[in-house]
Symmetry: C2
Subunit: 322 residues, 2 copies
């Protein structure tokens, strides 16, 4: 497959075989109490329990394993709000090559530490997409490293889609699968796989209303810019690319938005009832259930990540400010 072509289902299927020794088969959890509270029968695919605490381990592994030896030897580079950076650092270490990481200055401390733990070399930048892209381009020019974009990359998208391949062996086809949307890599990969493996399942992306570029792009005519995203869900502040928008238009049924209060409430509910640690981005699909946006039936939710600063849990901050 050329890296300039959009990925297809077969790329997801071969990614699943390729990365299988290097990622965790994460469990699917459920709780009758939580299903009752959410008004649907919900199964949670726990990618917060994935290596590096997020599904990003999948796409990064696939991209790094697909490099030829010459390119691999020069290393990989990326810009990322955090989880992709840790994932790429880990994948590079597995292959014994360097990883150069551009991170926004305001990335959560826990995410920066994770990158450094995996041997990634961090360079800080301003927290805007333009600053991130410029710094990454300069790094690539200086080192000859291959840029592995957090989501606008066919191998990364194919890797993220392996979440659904795994789910399809753990669950009967649900009525709906819910996935958070930032740059759209997880949504595009998941939708590609779902269309083949769960053809009757609706695929719905969920996005914070304060970072709703994907919903605007999906429902409008053209690719919309991110603007100035305002959301606690730090992993979802990126904008769709032309590629992820095209894939979403082809394979996704809907993209809905949710409010910040619902995201915090959903996150707390997952801690309190499901007993798992999720980051705000990971709780976003559950916020859609809380807001009654999805309806009853069998729902599969991808809990995308668990990397949250435990000194600044949002309900504690709220209580202090009160």
């Amino acid at each position: 497959m050329s890296t300039t072509l959009d990925p297809v289902f077969e790329d997801v299927a071969s990614a699943a075989r390729r990365i299988e020794p290097y990622v965790r088969r994460t469990p699917v959890l459920s709780s009758p109490e939580l299903s009752r509270l959410l008004g649907a029968s919900v199964d949670f695919k726990c990618e917060n329990l994935q290596a590096v605490g997020a599904f990003k381990a999948r796409g990064a592994c696939n991209a790094v394993l697909m490099l030829d030896d010459l390119h691999a030897s020069r290393g990989v580079a990326t810009h990322s709000s955090g989880n992709h950076a840790a994932a790429l650092s880990r994948a590079a270490r597995l292959r014994g090559i360097p990883a150069y990481i551009v991170m926004p200055r305001d990335a959560p401390r826990i995410k920066r530490l994770a990158v450094e733990d995996f041997g990634g070399r961090v360079q800080e930048c301003e927290p805007t997409l333009a600053a991130r892209e410029a710094a990454a381009a300069a790094l690539v020019a200086a080192t000859g490293a291959t840029l592995v974009h957090p989501y606008d990359d066919p191998q990364v998208i194919a890797g993220q889609g392996t979440v659904l391949v795994e789910m399809s062996s753990q669950l009967a086809p649900p009525d709906v699968v819910l996935v958070p949307v930032g740059g759209g890599g997880l949504l595009a990969g998941t939708a590609l796989a779902s269309r083949r493996l769960w053809p009757r399942t609706r695929v719905i992306g969920v996005e914070p209303a304060g970072a709703d570029d994907a919903a605007r792009s999906f429902h409008g005519g053209d690719l919309q810019p991110a603007g100035a995203p305002q959301t606690i869900a730090d992993g979802l502040r990126g904008a769709l690319s032309a590629r992820t928008l095209r894939l979403a238009r082809a394979h996704v049924d809907d993209i809905v938005t949710v409010g910040e209060e619902s995201i915090v409430a959903a996150m707390r509910l997952l801690f309190e009832v499901l007993k798992v640690v999720v980051e705000p981005s990971g709780a976003v699909p559950v916020a859609a259930l809380l807001e009654g946006r999805i309806g009853p039936g069998r729902v599969a939710v991808v809990l995308s990540g668990g990397n949250v600063d435990l000194d600044a849990l949002p309900w504690v901050v709220t209580r202090r400010e009160a």
Copy 2:
């Protein structure tokens, strides 16, 4: 089996068959990062993901299912710091009978709400063992309900031992299995099952130094009173009974104690790296690993429960007081 006899392995095995439709088969999780940090290869049996958020669902189910119809119709009663109370309420509801619950005034809010959610009828008492026992005795006299003690009960002990039966089908025999110790029901049941199913595995109980009656009783001559336990681990403030001490002496290799700071650090580590929510009692065995009390090798840890007040996580409280 008479309720006056100590349980044997066959009671645990039959409890496993009896309760299987009514409890969750909880996953075993591990994390290479966490194993590295703890200096041992550690597998975690996630009873924090059990129904009612704690292993107590097992023993309570077994005890309620073993009642004959006449006794069952009068209901069940108990005194408990919380998880057993929720578990007994749930088991009673499954059988359609009343549950009368005596709870100490200082039990965490989340545990009281859980009892009420399952239809348990709560009566408050002073937070001492004597007050709890007196109030429960009065309730039993008034209602004819059967007292189901949180740990000094052969059926409850047999039920708790099913944790290890399940683990034995999920894991190869480890070098050590670590279990928290409060009243000793989980330790006794687990040890009974381990002796048969994992005969070469050392069984070690772990207890807060501020509530070290079990260690004193185990290593000394006689059953020691709880005294005035001082520990954040609210589930472990009870004292061994003569029965649980006898079973521990017969089947347990050691009981070690850990400090409060280690318990908080272990709890935070489980949130941050394993990405699961555990209550302080559930983190106690991990504190023993953090303190270097166990040594390298393959270690299986029972994460006993996940019911913690998210408004009062101990590291947040510490930071506020600083």
